[in-house]
Symmetry: C2
Subunit: 362 residues, 2 copies
């Protein structure tokens, strides 16, 4: 069939221009006579591509020179565990802000390697709002403060970087909103992101880490888990996910061509505004329960006024070329993920379908 | 340029038929209107593909029912560390057979999580032969015995599965020779393999583990490191490397179409025989120093009689469309990797070039 509008929460839509280029050069990359997947990561061609991808990411995010950029594996979930291993000693504690499914999981997985202090949580509010900054009970001796700027399942997002002072490094799982708009990297000690939402295919993690944190002893571990070793080896301590790195590089180039993160911020604001507007303007036919101040630009939850209509909505939307609108099983309902590669036209098509559906099933 | 003959040690050549199919369906996979990289791993289409890939691997390797098959991340190197975490308790030891660079590294990385007993080593022989089985000082209380059936850098290979009895499980890093010929999986407790040589792109690890070993407590660790959790979640404990899994599945289908591992064994024997024959028949112009009984079918080392000719050999071979013949920097010289996807015609072209080079530079 022809290409659909893809609202998958992840692995998510990729820019068609990126896919078309990858398709063109799949058997003969960069004049090598072989696929990028068939290249040694130690070869000149691959190393040049890898360095360019890093340089492009640094340009896009204005990454300061005292931060290392790493291309890793394991998904964000592995780094839920690996971050405390690296940043916390055996007797340390770390502060976790719990604002939804993924930050709760980050806190839970960290428990094997650090004493977890849940410094704030919005669980009692069903994660429909963010824990107010003045409720956070931060420990000045914490090894770090961890939070999740965007929660893909609960559809809540921090629209500003919380001020936690300078003494304790701020760690953020940016898997679902990295590169969706400008961000002051210097406010963070460590940023990490699974690639499969705003960067590329799954199986790649991008990490930006302030170099002084690479000096922390952490706890005893094998070399392969130590970020300092990965940094010293330019992320080639062992064979990296070469295809993922390549696709990420193509996406970074595409983002630069689009006008960078400032242009993405405008686009993402317009897309989310259009969809939330349609939901709020539907006289209760569609509903989003999230505190408007905390609504995610990336993942828009909505419920139909009658769950008996859910099956018809999903069937008809898919038939209309609108893919993957089913909400996460934990919450039911619908979810439209609007990452960078989802164009405004996709949201326009969705909003039109929603209006049409409401009229037909009113 | 047109496709070359690719002798890369890894990431290595993939079957052209696999690449062509991936290219055709890159933007519209399986009638979905989106790339396989853009699919949720929890969607019906992806789950069906993933299950078929596992079923095809089970058929190819005749994997017994009491073994789980896992699709993981991190490269073999991460599992050098993760295997002892899972199979050994805090006070246990494990036996390691060291027959080259990779088995030495496996033993070294394991040291963070288990007491390593080097039960045998051929380091004193510069890894030019295998440690004879009767020299192995195995500990009957070891948590497991680890060995590396093929060493990509040193070019040595075990041509039979060593008998270590039934009491202690045998663990094998099959990264570089999995699926290169028939193997009795029931002789092993655990087999693991980085995909980037005989299976698919880098960033994927295939593991075959006897289910009783999933019950071992190991040491305390985060859930994401525990193989039993991955097995219980059908390797979707978190988002897997979906592209890698897909490519692996295409490779398994291709192998079945070629006649399976028996056909691969014949082909690999013919390829290695042709190249070693050319080396041994060159009157010392080319030399392979490895004990003939231990020569690898997958990675053929050879040195020119005069290292002053190395640069010309590499330059002229690349110009002739013979890619990645440079030996590993630890040993110098040349290396031709002859994994499943390298056809006999590639080796014929290499042998012809070698003869021609010797005549011209004699």
């Amino acid at each position: 069939m022809s290409r659909v509008w893809n609202f998958s929460a992840g692995p998510a839509a990729l820019p068609p221009a990126v896919l078309e280029r990858a398709q063109r050069e799949l058997l003969d990359w960069n004049g090598s006579g072989a696929s990028v997947m068939e290249q040694s990561h130690r070869g000149k061609r691959f190393i040049a591509m890898a360095a360019q991808a890093e340089a492009d990411l640094r340009a896009l995010m204005e990454v300061p020179a005292d931060y290392a950029v790493l291309f890793l594996q394991g998904g964000a979930t592995q780094h839920f565990a690996q971050i405390p291993m690296n940043l916390a000693g055996p007797d340390d504690s770390a502060d976790y802000i719990v604002s939804g499914h993924w930050s709760a999981k980050a806190a839970s997985e960290a428990g094997a390697y650090v004493r977890v202090n849940v410094a704030a949580s919005s669980a009692a509010d069903d994660y429909l709002k963010l824990p107010p900054r003045d409720s956070w009970r931060l420990d000045p001796r914490a090894a770090y403060v961890h939070y999740t700027p965007n929660e893909t399942i609960h559809g809540v997002e921090f629209h500003d970087v919380p001020d936690v002072g300078d003494a304790v490094p701020l760690v953020a799982d940016l898997s679902s909103n990295i590169l969706s708009g400008p961000l002051d990297v210097s406010r963070f000690g460590l940023i990490y992101a699974g690639a499969q939402k705003n960067i590329g295919p799954s199986g790649l993690v991008v990490m930006i880490i302030r170099r002084d944190l690479l000096q922390r002893a952490g706890r005893p571990m094998a070399r392969i888990f130590r970020y300092a070793e990965h940094a010293a080896a330019d992320s080639m301590l062992n064979t990296p996910n070469t295809w993922g790195w390549y696709l990420a590089g193509l996406t970074f180039q595409w983002l630069l061509e689009q006008g960078g993160v400032a242009a993405m911020a405008d686009l993402n604001r317009a897309k989310a505004g259009l969809l939330y507007g349609a939901i709020d303007g539907s006289d209760g036919y569609y509903r989003n329960p999230v505190d408007p101040a905390a609504r995610s630009r990336m993942n828009v939850r909505f419920d139909l006024h009658d769950t008996a209509l859910d099956a018809a909505f999903l069937q008809e939307s898919e038939a209309a070329g609108l893919l993957a609108l089913k909400g996460h099983k934990a919450l039911g309902g619908m979810r439209a993920s609007l990452y960078n590669a989802v164009p405004l036209a996709a949201v326009e098509a969705l909003v039109e379908f929603m209006g049409d559906f409401a009229r037909r099933h009113g």
